[in-house]
Symmetry: C2
Subunit: 411 residues, 2 copies
Amino acid sequence: MTDYPARSAQVIERCRQLARITDVPGETTRLFLSPATREAHALLTHWMQAAGLEVRTDAIGNLRGLLPGPAADSPRLLIGSHIDTVPNAGAFDGPLGVLLGLALIEELRSSDASFSFAIELIAFSEEEGVRFATPFLGSLALIAQLEPDTLQRKDDDGISLAASIRNFGLDPAELPATVADPAAAGYFEIHIEQGPVLEHEDRSLAVVEAIAGQTRLALTFSGHANHAGTTPMGPLRRDALAAASEWIAEVERSATSIPGLVATVGKVEVPGGAGNVIPGIVTSTLDVRDARDQVRRAAVEHLLESAAIVCAKRRVNVAHTRTLDQPAVPMDHRLTNLLAAAVTQMTGTPARRMPSGAGHDAMIVARRIPSTMLFLRSPGGLSHHPNETVLPADVEAALAAGTAFLRSLSL
Amino acid sequence: MTDYPARSAQVIERCRQLARITDVPGETTRLFLSPATREAHALLTHWMQAAGLEVRTDAIGNLRGLLPGPAADSPRLLIGSHIDTVPNAGAFDGPLGVLLGLALIEELRSSDASFSFAIELIAFSEEEGVRFATPFLGSLALIAQLEPDTLQRKDDDGISLAASIRNFGLDPAELPATVADPAAAGYFEIHIEQGPVLEHEDRSLAVVEAIAGQTRLALTFSGHANHAGTTPMGPLRRDALAAASEWIAEVERSATSIPGLVATVGKVEVPGGAGNVIPGIVTSTLDVRDARDQVRRAAVEHLLESAAIVCAKRRVNVAHTRTLDQPAVPMDHRLTNLLAAAVTQMTGTPARRMPSGAGHDAMIVARRIPSTMLFLRSPGGLSHHPNETVLPADVEAALAAGTAFLRSLSL
């Protein structure tokens, strides 16, 4: 039919419908293998089967719909995103990629396109990591990288991951069967940008070149708590917060000087602090991301060094622990170039290429399967928030570009 | 006898003995009109009576020992400090002033000195403000400035101040009788410095010229919370913590440029903050003190203006509320000059004069009665801490200077 406005409206309406399926009435909160997940599976299964897909739930709870290829051993394109959410989420972070994937399949089937490959649509059960404080359970299982230890992790109610799988009627012993078919030759994920760049540039779409690498640190500044009224300014003070503040200003200044790099102090605490006490201890976080690993590593070293310099002159100690050190994950060149060509063709302007500052299932899947990602503009840069949304015209553009991409693809 | 080393040792031993009387076993925590206060009163009464004082407990729980003067209407010198403590306190903040006062009386009586005035030793029941979140209850009652509303304030157990007075066996209706005798012509308080200045200058004593005025503010910086990975550095960020940090550095820089002024940000919070989220809201405190009211007021205005400037360029809002605005309280010139002369005479070097950056009972009493204060060096600048201490030689110097001061005094 190629009525993209109608399909776009349907995709948005389906996302909204899914958002009403929640574990917490009055908001959208859908946790891994929860009652709401079962209900979401029922609705998605209905839509997938109506589109002609063979639907199954694998042992980690990923809902998977297969459109077989011309032969039993035809190469297979995976299209996916996740359907779990953060607490009090919006309707599009995750589900949009699943329902746009379904709409692409519907569009291609309605246009009688014939493909040399099979398509498997995957609604990953877990990306956000809320229930077991461990993200990417669904995609890790898909590439056989779910650590056996992870099955013993417990949720807030003391239920292990293994037990939660059994409680959902699935069998952890079947986890090997969740692994992607050896014929899987590509992975395509569509996601909202979750940032302000496309809106600022007034663009609908971007092609993701890489998932940025990420270093997270926890820092502790230790000075000396003293009476705020009786300790003069100057060298008799060892103010941990003044030290941390000088450093935070340097984090911002220094990161701003390196295009593409982001560095953020998201948390600062003054444990036991009081208005009339010079802070003795301050803890903070640091989050540094860049698509270029060497740039990120150099920035982290520079920022740690500048913390040491700021603190040394104040007789404040600074210590840090690295809580995450995750290299950048480049997307597949060939697939990404094809996707960019499709975007260029449909929008009439050269495709915007950008790194993703956030992690996505594609970051995991790309370890084993050539992967590519398409971003849609996030109005207000908003995500993980009930007001998160998408523009219908952007969904239309994604449908058009996605269709062109799939038509141009050989696997 | 004038054996200052022996008297000094006794003062310190008595402070330590009092510190073992506590509401919380294993630490020194003595709250207003608590069981420990009753026990402390018994011990102090014993010591005071042995020194020849007529002892009573007034209706706010101040323990008062009178050494009558030559006539019934002789002028009266008040000597005092407080015996309540902060939680997990040291032995000297407060009690030292009471027990040095007692030692001065013992010293003067043993040397058969004759005085033209009466001396009333006051152990104030409440200065720290822990139990009813209201400081200076004892000294406010002494000068008839305890607001009637204050009697309705409740402690953490829901007991009102009035009820706590009755539970201690006292009668709130008798509060008017707590007011200082009309003959009270001077107030003398000895206290630890609670700061590092005397230690840094290697001095035993200082004479307090004024209690610094104090402004306390609560500030809220409101930017916009965004994803730390997907929001580039620069104008698309409205980072409330980067704004607050730039301002905190300016607070320190600016206060350091004005000798005598102190300005401290003691608390910073990022409510709901997370390592991977650009802070949208930051709250902080600001505490500004100076013995010169116009200097303090100008500094507060400058710091609020610089917060506004820092925030405006970042599209961050800043709002503030003033939680305290307390003018400086000068000590009495004549008494302070006499005290300085006594210190100069006993130490052989010109007395160090300094403002007190902390509040003390003298700050309240001075509203009605000419007041003066003597500071003793605080090793490590430490107070409100179990390791708070005094040096025996400094206590000896205080005894010698205090004796000389009292001998030189006419009221």
